[in-house]
């Protein structure tokens, strides 16, 4: 399938997963908040990657935290993936982006599989499981199916779990997603960039790596036994930043021969070597969220010299799909590969 056609199918599929999606907004991660700050590379980062933002000079950064749903209705307290899209502003008006989420792996290894997954995950009416079904599950030593959240009428969980039951590649993501929960703060979650990138060291050595953001404040989730609160994450972040900068460490995991380099459904072992590439310090929530957040169009394929995409087919497809999505919603263009 041609790249542009696939991009169109992907965007349509994501929009279909949110029947109440509002035209002109992001197809996914629709609700979010933009913040500003700066990134300072660690002293060793330049030894591993020649990209400008790893070479010592502090660079400005724009970050958008988000909930993953494409719905315009906010449900901060629901268990779901959260996004952290970061733009590093480079010299000469250039930029490079890093898109990450709280899930450690993706649901599909190819864009074609993702289309099938998205089709399966179209929300369907949901009702509380019948008590006898829960008892039967407990007798089978299965965790009972959870009740829907108060007011929840539809859910994609049943469809995505059924799909994962038949497609082993998506099982780990589906399983991990069922434990995600909701963070107490956007600043208290770990965000994984999921895909493999290739970084170039000063001596020309190329390494396969994956990035993730680790919160300096530590990770903390809300108590899942308490009723979910629909709207707290943005206010919490404003309060937090008004009092103290929010910091994240950018960690880079170095892959090894035998690690899945092009398959985002497979997380790398946790005991791979990881390098501290620098600290992101978030200091301001801009008043004009439209200009500094909603108009920004992040793209996992917006890279700079020293960082390249792997052959991960999902990453390649996301580059075109995100660009098409930007066009459809009228997001601000940001030239690729501009440095």
């Amino acid at each position: 399938m041609a790249e542009r056609d696939m991009a169109r199918h992907l965007v349509d599929a994501v929009i279909a997963d949110s029947p109440d999606h509002k035209r002109g907004t992001r197809p996914a991660h629709t609700i979010g908040i933009g913040v500003k700050g700066h990134f300072r590379a660690s002293p060793v980062a330049r030894d591993w990657c020649v990209a400008e933002h790893f070479c010592g000079r502090e660079v400005e950064a724009s970050v958008r935290f988000s909930n993953s749903s494409g719905s315009p209705v906010q449900h901060d307290g629901w268990s779901d993936a959260r996004g952290m899209a970061t733009r590093f502003h480079l010299s000469g008006g250039g930029a490079t982006d890093l898109l990450a989420m709280t899930l450690r792996e993706f649901f599909s290894a190819t864009p074609e599989d993702f289309l099938a997954f998205a089709q399966a995950a179209i929300p369907r009416p949901v009702e509380p499981p019948r008590p006898w079904r829960k008892i039967a599950d407990m007798l089978r030593l299965f965790p009972p199916l959870p009740d829907p959240y108060p007011g929840q009428r539809t859910s994609s969980v049943g469809g995505s779990m059924a799909y994962s039951g038949l497609h082993s590649a998506s099982q780990l993501a589906a399983f991990d997603a069922s434990f995600l929960g909701a963070p107490v703060s956007y600043a208290r979650a770990t965000y994984n960039a999921v895909h493999t990138f290739i970084v170039t060291a000063p001596d020309g050595t190329e390494r396969y790596v994956r990035f993730f953001w680790q919160p300096a404040a530590g990770v903390e989730m809300v108590n899942p036994d308490l009723p979910p609160i629909d709207n707290y994450l943005q206010a919490e972040l404003r309060d937090r930043i008004a009092n103290w900068p929010v910091e994240f460490l950018l960690l880079m995991t170095v892959g090894e021969m035998g690690d899945p380099l092009t398959d985002p459904t497979k997380a790398w072992p946790l005991h791979r070597m990881r390098i501290n590439m620098g600290t992101l310090c978030l200091t301001e929530v801009p008043d004009d969220q439209q200009a500094h957040c909603e108009q920004l169009a992040f793209n996992p394929g917006r890279l700079t010299d020293g960082i390249a995409m792997s052959d991960d087919p999902v990453l390649i497809a996301r580059k075109a799909a995100y660009e098409l999505s930007r066009e459809l919603r009228g997001g601000a263009a940001c030239p690729f590969d501009a440095v």
Binding site: P131, K134, I135, A162
Partner: protein, 247 residues
């Protein structure tokens, strides 16, 4: 009575039944039922293998450093006297232990812990398990002998230097099972003779919960995942080299 009124009466009743069922799953009664009736029932109906202990064989460099060993060795004498003998077997051999650690050079840390009449040997080492034990027996054979003499089924191994392969297998059998880091791997540890989920069969991911329970039934002692590391992927030799300790 209209259908709507009937429904209105039924809905609250169902909601309260739902609440009751939800609370039931966390009740002590259900906990007892699960532990004493359901687990034995499912363990008989879908028996699982006792899994081999220790870190799994792998060819990847990052998996071959900082491997975890957790031996649980039941003491023969389960009194304070027996525990004191075990403590003395270690305390009286400190020079041998430190010399062995320095000469072998692949150990990040090691410790001996007495837990409920078990001598536990816990270590984090680099490289192949067999070579690790082989190196230590060469360096610390007499210390192993003095400890193993206090352990159930240990005497047949003494002297360990003369029974090295048997001793390696004996140690491996007593190294605790390491639960996979990736939860979905549990789907592949099925009932004896068949995987938990057959090829082409729909997998209910909630089966992972039962698979874990049954694994822990068959393997009561377990390391949760392969361990957590502050400086992953780095060998003890590399740390010594980079720190300028003169090794």
């Amino acid at each position: 009575m209209s259908v709507r009124r009937r429904m209105n009466q039924l809905v609250p009743r169902r909601a309260s039944l739902n609440d009751l069922v939800n609370s039931m799953s966390k009740s002590r009664l259900f906990g007892w039922l699960a532990g004493h009736v359901l687990v034995p029932y499912w363990a008989r109906k879908t028996p699982v293998h006792k899994q081999p202990g220790g870190a799994r064989a792998t060819v990847q460099p990052g998996d071959n450093v900082q491997r975890m060993m957790n031996l649980i060795l039941p003491l023969k004498d389960k009194t304070a006297v027996g525990r004191a003998k075990a403590a003395m077997a270690i305390a009286s051999n400190l020079d041998e232990i430190y010399a062995g650690l320095d000469n072998v050079g692949t150990v990040h840390f090691a410790r001996f812990v007495i837990i409920e009449n078990n001598m536990c040997m816990i270590s984090c080492y680099d490289g192949d398990f067999s070579n690790y034990i082989r190196d230590f027996v060469a360096q610390l054979g007499t210390v192993f002998d003095s400890v193993i003499a206090l352990i159930e089924d240990g005497e047949a191994m003494i002297p360990t230097r003369d029974n090295i392969d048997t001793f390696i297998n004996w140690v491996h059998d007593r190294d605790v099972y390491q639960i996979p880091d990736t939860a979905t791997e549990l789907l592949h540890y099925g009932t004896i003779g068949q995987p938990a989920v057959k090829s082409g069969e729909v997998a209910d991911l909630r089966l992972i919960a039962r698979a874990l329970i049954l694994q822990l039934h068959a393997n009561p002692n377990a390391l949760l995942g392969s361990g957590y590391r502050g400086y992953p992927g780095i060998s003890a030799a590399r740390i010594r080299d980079k720190m300028g300790f003169g090794w």
